[in-house]
């Protein structure tokens, strides 16, 4: 039991370290909040142009897209993990983590905590700003359920970051492909517009990743958007993605590190 508590302290230490580093850049949170305000303002006025079936009013589309914007920040945080690993490689701290009793795998998992928690907070702030500045109506009776749903969504998103982290350990580049993947997911995940508008082959792609069911569930819980599929089936999909991909991504990361140690490339950056 004592060993588990010591390991939990180590997870907490990584979280605290990232918080301290974040706070040492004093203007970062202000600039990120301003970015959220600009995005909301842009889509608030775009929503005034929208008069299509599926959205009863401009406000309805605005609610739809605000949840998408909030989820984009969460998605970005998942895909920031390979860049964080890259920074550790360059700073020479990854070697030290690898040589610590806590180990590199647990350290990388712990490194995901701060960006994910922070993106969770930024998503909440984005929704709050949308309410205060542009009159977004949240569906308060189901809002509390969005927290466990978001946690499940994070577990389903996390493997993507871990797999790209494994790639970073192997090829030493942080952002290879992540920008493309984020752009692709933004389209097929239905973050800015309904997936039903896409061609049928693209709609198939929408079913092959966890971002679409996550946005569907959160839209329903936060702004009571009408659903094309049932909430329970979307939650099952998220759980399946998390259950299958999370162990797979951890295995990929462990393999990348072991191969790097065998070849001696783990010391390169």
């Amino acid at each position: 039991m004592s060993a588990q508590i010591t390991a939990l302290h180590a997870f907490g230490a990584v979280l605290r370290r990232d918080l301290y580093v974040f706070l040492s850049y004093r203007t970062r949170i202000v600039s990120q909040m301003l970015t959220a305000v600009f995005s909301l303002t842009l889509f608030y006025y775009v929503s005034k142009l929208v008069h299509v079936s599926g959205f009863s009013s401009p406000q309805s589309y605005f609610g739809f897209v605000v949840v998408g914007i909030a989820l984009v920040s969460v998605m970005y945080s998942c895909f920031s993990i390979p860049e964080i690993v890259r920074q550790e490689l360059v700073a020479g701290t990854f070697d030290r983590l690898l040589l610590s009793p806590f180990g590199a795998i647990r350290s990388v998992v712990a490194m995901t905590l701060f960006p994910l928690l922070y993106s969770f907070m930024m998503a909440a702030i984005t929704l709050g700003l949308a309410c205060v500045l542009y009159g977004l109506q949240l569906h308060w009776s189901t809002v509390p359920w969005s927290i466990p749903a978001m946690c499940l969504a994070l577990l389903a998103f996390l493997p993507f970051g871990l797999m790209f982290a494994a790639l970073t350990v192997s090829i030493k580049q942080g952002a290879v492909g992540t920008t493309w993947v984020i752009a692709l997911i933004s389209i097929v995940g239905g973050l800015y517009f309904p997936v039903s508008l896409l061609p049928s082959w693209a709609q198939t792609a929408a079913k092959l990743q966890p971002f679409t069911p996550a946005t569907n569930v959160l839209r329903h819980l936060l702004v009571n958007s009408p659903q094309s599929t049932s909430i329970s089936s979307a939650l099952v999909k998220l759980a399946l993605f998390a259950g299958v991909l999370l162990p797979g991504s951890l295995l990929a990361l462990a393999s990348a590190i072991r191969i790097g140690q065998r070849r001696g490339t783990i010391i390169e950056y």
């Binding site: 301290y20 040589l99 010391i267």
Partner: protein, 246 residues
């Protein structure tokens, strides 16, 4: 030639006082044994390490020197468990880092050469606290160990200073403090005196003496011709991938 200090005691015990043979670790009668280490970085390059053997016994300090690029750092990285040899084994009390990673890393601490391995935006205290937690130091002794390191490595005045605002010598003192923080049994030092003044050098020697006093062992690598004032129990040079007496 094999770098063995003396005949191995059959009754020697492990770090927990556990009899090695009782633990089923055959031939594991030393804190650190490098057996037949062989490493080649590329097929078209010569061997960096060629069946290199080295045994470190409790309470001893060993120096390994050699020209730049001769393989000292490669040997230390393999001994630390950072990279694998092509052939051979690096064993701590009979087990490799792959066979028992956590135990291996709890016993071994490695100071790499250079000035890397620090978080620039963290203060000295937070850096030590972070690495202490990652080293899985038990919470009962955590505060005492971190505060002790700050005092022992003359970091009291720097404790609340960020690393990116420190001199190279001050950073090196912090890196050395991190290396000795978890009270390791086996310490691997790669050019530890880089950027250090006379006081810093004395601090390192005191830290090494403490390791030896608790029957730990130290492997110290640096270029040839340095640190002749330190009393090493054995001195070796790496030449063409093998150890020869210095």
């Amino acid at each position: 030639m094999s770098g063995t200090l003396e005949a191995i005691e059959p009754e020697i015990r492990g770090p927990d006082g556990m009899h090695i043979r009782a633990a089923g670790l055959k031939g594991a009668a030393a804190p650190l044994m490098l057996r037949g280490l062989t490493k080649r970085w590329r097929k078209d390059l010569p061997l960096v390490l060629d069946s290199l053997d080295l045994t470190l016994l409790p309470g001893t300090i060993t120096w390994v020197g050699g020209r730049n690029g001769v393989g000292k750092t490669t040997m230390l990285r393999i001994a630390a468990g950072l990279i694998d040899p092509d052939f051979g084994r690096a064993e701590v009390w009979g087990a490799t880092a792959v066979e028992n990673r956590v135990r291996y890393q709890q016993l071994v601490s490695f100071l790499p050469a250079g000035d890397r391995g620090l978080y620039a935006r963290l203060t000295v205290r937070r850096q030590l606290e972070f690495w202490g937690r990652i080293a899985l130091i038990r919470r009962e002794r955590f505060g005492e160990i971190v505060n002790g390191a700050i005092e022992d490595f003359d970091l009291v005045d720097l404790a609340e200073r960020r690393v990116d605002r420190m001199s190279m010598g001050q950073r090196q003192r912090l890196r050395i403090a991190m290396t000795f923080l978890s009270e390791p049994e086996i310490v691997l030092l790669d050019e530890p005196l880089t950027s250090l003044d006379a006081e810093g050098t004395a601090i390192v020697q005191t830290a090494v003496a403490k390791v030896l006093a608790r029957e730990g062992c130290v492997l110290w690598c640096s270029p040839s011709g340095e640190h002749l004032d330190i009393e090493f129990d054995a001195r070796w040079m790496i030449e063409q991938g093998k150890l020869v007496p210095a």
